[in-house]
């Protein structure tokens, strides 16, 4: 395994791998059957949604139950814009911007409270969102929802619809992933991590937790809006059901299961979101929610880093076998040893 890791870290290997991935992304849609393309496209859609959630939750440590709301808003904006015949590029921009502004406003208020306030406030978003969508029927089509067909493959490409849609998803999702990757690997990402780790330390370093929480949340909602646009590209229909409470929880679970705070984990999360319900339905449809809950809990107990951390875990197990002790706390389990107040205690005092 060590030899494999060394091999993988050689720069030319990296480039070859990236080239292979790019080639695959270009070629696969052409050779795969329609159903596979559609599934991959939907995975892409929700990978973007999970990525957005990761920015605010995985990287900055703020639990948010509202991501699906922004996806829904993005989808509605897209559907409305297409129906009104607006330029598609404008629609895409609005689909990102409008949820972004809403996210900004919400986080300006919620982040002020500190602690778990963002979690407690965002839980209301899907719950308010559904009746709101039903109510504003001139914009949203009410309970019926809105459909918008605009992603048919143009004649000059010679592609089938499902291939064209998958390419669009790959292209836009690819850009979003790249931008986000640069964001989290740069100084903003470091600031997010510090805020996540210990807000008091962040303040003392001149990093305002409030500002970065607002920033993270806004970026998350922008990305969520893009995901909504892509959702319309692939599914071509949206309704209040899109942003239901149940979906909100599934999205959060997908992020955790895929791997919080990880770009690759977001992809895995998207895959989980799309594939898991199909799998659990196949086992027993009435047990879907139970299985979901069980899987999430098992991951939290056994693999808190998510599926993406499996290789890391395997590597650690192997090094343990060679006699290096794994680090663990030897302090008593029932009663914590005295320690300076950590972020957890401060957070409890904040809300």
């Amino acid at each position: 395994m060590a030899a494999a890791t060394d091999f993988l870290s050689k720069p030319w290997v990296r480039w070859v791998a990236i080239a292979l991935v790019v080639i695959a992304l270009i070629v696969l849609p052409l050779i795969l059957p329609a159903f596979a393309n559609q599934t991959l496209a939907r995975i892409g859609v929700f990978a973007v949604a999970v990525l957005g959630l990761n920015v605010v939750m995985g990287y900055t440590g703020q639990v948010s139950l509202g991501q699906i709301f922004f996806v829904g808003v993005g989808a509605y904006v897209t559907a409305y814009g297409v129906q009104q015949g607006w330029n598609i590029a404008l629609v895409l921009i609005l689909a990102a911007l409008i949820p972004g502004v809403i996210g900004l406003l919400i986080s300006l208020a919620a982040a002020r409270l500190g602690g778990l306030a963002i979690a407690m406030v965002t839980i209301a978003l899907p719950i308010i969102g559904v009746p709101l969508a039903k109510r504003l029927s001139e914009f949203t089509g009410g309970s019926q929802g809105l459909s918008a067909r605009f992603s048919a493959a143009p004649e000059w490409t010679g592609l089938y619809d499902d291939q064209w849609q998958l390419y669009i998803v790959i292209a836009i999702a690819g850009v979003v992933f790249l931008l986000t990757r640069n964001l989290v690997r740069g100084k903003y990402g470091r600031a997010f991590a510090i805020v996540k780790g210990n807000e008091a330390v962040a303040s003392s370093m001149g990093i305002s937790p409030y500002r970065y929480k607002v920033l993270a949340f806004t970026i998350a909602s922008l990305i969520g809006g893009v995901s909504g646009f892509l959702y319309m590209v692939v599914v071509q229909y949206t309704s209040p059901e899109t942003m239901s409470f149940g979906h909100s929880i599934t999205l959060l679970a997908s992020m955790v299961i895929g791997g919080a705070g990880s770009i690759l984990g977001s992809l895995l999360g998207g895959a989980y979101y799309v594939l898991a319900p199909q799998l659990t339905n196949a086992i027993d449809s009435s047990l879907t929610a139970v299985l979901q809950g069980v899987i999430l809990l098992v991951i939290l107990f056994v693999l808190p880093g998510g599926l993406v951390s499996l290789p890391r875990l395997w590597r650690r197990r192997k090094s343990e076998h060679r006699g290096m002790p794994a680090l663990d706390a030897t302090a008593s389990v029932t009663v914590p040893t005295p320690h300076p107040p950590t972020q957890s205690e401060e957070k409890r005092q904040d809300t």
């Binding site: 602690g115 979690a119 209301a124 308010i128 139970v290 808190p304």
Partner: protein
């Protein structure tokens, strides 16, 4: 005037339910430092237990009391075997665990009892009384009184008994408490058990009007969390008053503010939060805590 009084009293009744759930959340938070997003789900499960006891022919009051008891045990077990690992750690991780628990519980309820709406009988007669020209339901008055009564009992427990003292000590400084011989683990279980029992009462009281479904208390949870935000995690009284305010205001808004209407009244508490936050960032009653590194 009549409508107004009716709305206020109905609002107090709904607010009492939110208050009970909010108190349970505060109780768990003070004891173990985390926010239990599954508190409402646990309350629904308790209501389903009561429903099953009813099916077995147990009289209503007894069925509810039994469900409170079962709930107490379940809460203690959940603390010991599920949550213990995540207490005093990162609260965000703990919250996700409770969300997983919520999913599991909702799923189990749906699987065992189906997702259909089930009828749940009310402790109170359907009649109404006339107060100052308003037609007020006995159920609303009864619900409010029962919950206020329970809250007073809990206050008595916490302030007047040795167990209550022990629970408070453990919540505030578990290590110091253990140095004085308090069995911290067991007391945490009791704390969770009490919170679960409180939720069970709320569940049984709201089930008649909402009908029993696995997602029955999802909205109530949202209201309860809003009450916690407004009242501040450190102030049980503040949380209760906030919950009542939310209950009353949303009812009034539903009728007197046409845009909000019945289906959007859940937005009311958050509009409230928005407004309050601009004035007082720490909530209505919470204390400004000093943050130490």
């Amino acid at each position: 005037m009549g409508t107004f009084i009716q709305l206020v009293i109905d609002g107090l009744s709904a607010g009492s339910i939110y208050a009970a759930l909010a108190l349970a959340i505060v109780l768990v938070n003070q004891a173990t430092g985390l926010i239990n997003f599954a508190q409402g789900g646990m309350a629904v499960l308790a209501a389903y237990f009561a429903y099953t006891f009813l099916q077995w022919g147990v009289p209503l009051i007894l069925a509810i009391l039994l469900s409170v008891l079962v709930s107490f045990v379940l809460g203690a077990v959940i603390e010991r075997f599920l949550m213990r690992r995540f207490e005093r750690g990162d609260p965000d991780t703990a919250v996700v665990v409770t969300i997983g628990l919520l999913t599991l519980i909702t799923g189990l309820c749906g699987w065992i009892w189906s997702f259909n709406n089930l009828q749940f009988p009310s402790l109170f007669p359907v009649q109404t009384v006339n107060i100052l020209g308003a037609v007020v339901s006995i159920r609303s008055i009864g619900t409010t009184l029962v919950i206020v009564g329970i809250m007073l009992l809990l206050q008595l427990l916490f302030l007047g008994t040795k167990l209550g003292l022990a629970l408070r000590a453990v919540a505030v400084n578990p290590q110091s408490a253990s140095f004085s011989g308090l069995p911290v683990g067991r007391l945490l279980m009791v704390g969770w058990g009490l919170a679960a029992g409180l939720g069970a009462v709320a569940g049984a009281l709201i089930a008649p009007s909402l009908t029993l479904t696995p997602g029955m208390m999802d909205s109530a949870l949202v209201y309860a969390l809003a009450a916690v935000i407004l009242g501040g995690l450190s102030s049980p009284i503040g949380v209760v008053i906030a919950a009542w305010m939310i209950g009353v205001l949303e009812n009034l808004a539903a009728v007197y503010v046409p845009f909000i209407g019945y289906d959007l009244k859940i937005a009311v508490p958050f509009i409230l939060i928005f407004i309050v936050l601009i004035v007082r960032p720490q909530g209505l009653f919470g204390r400004k805590e000093v943050v130490r590194v």
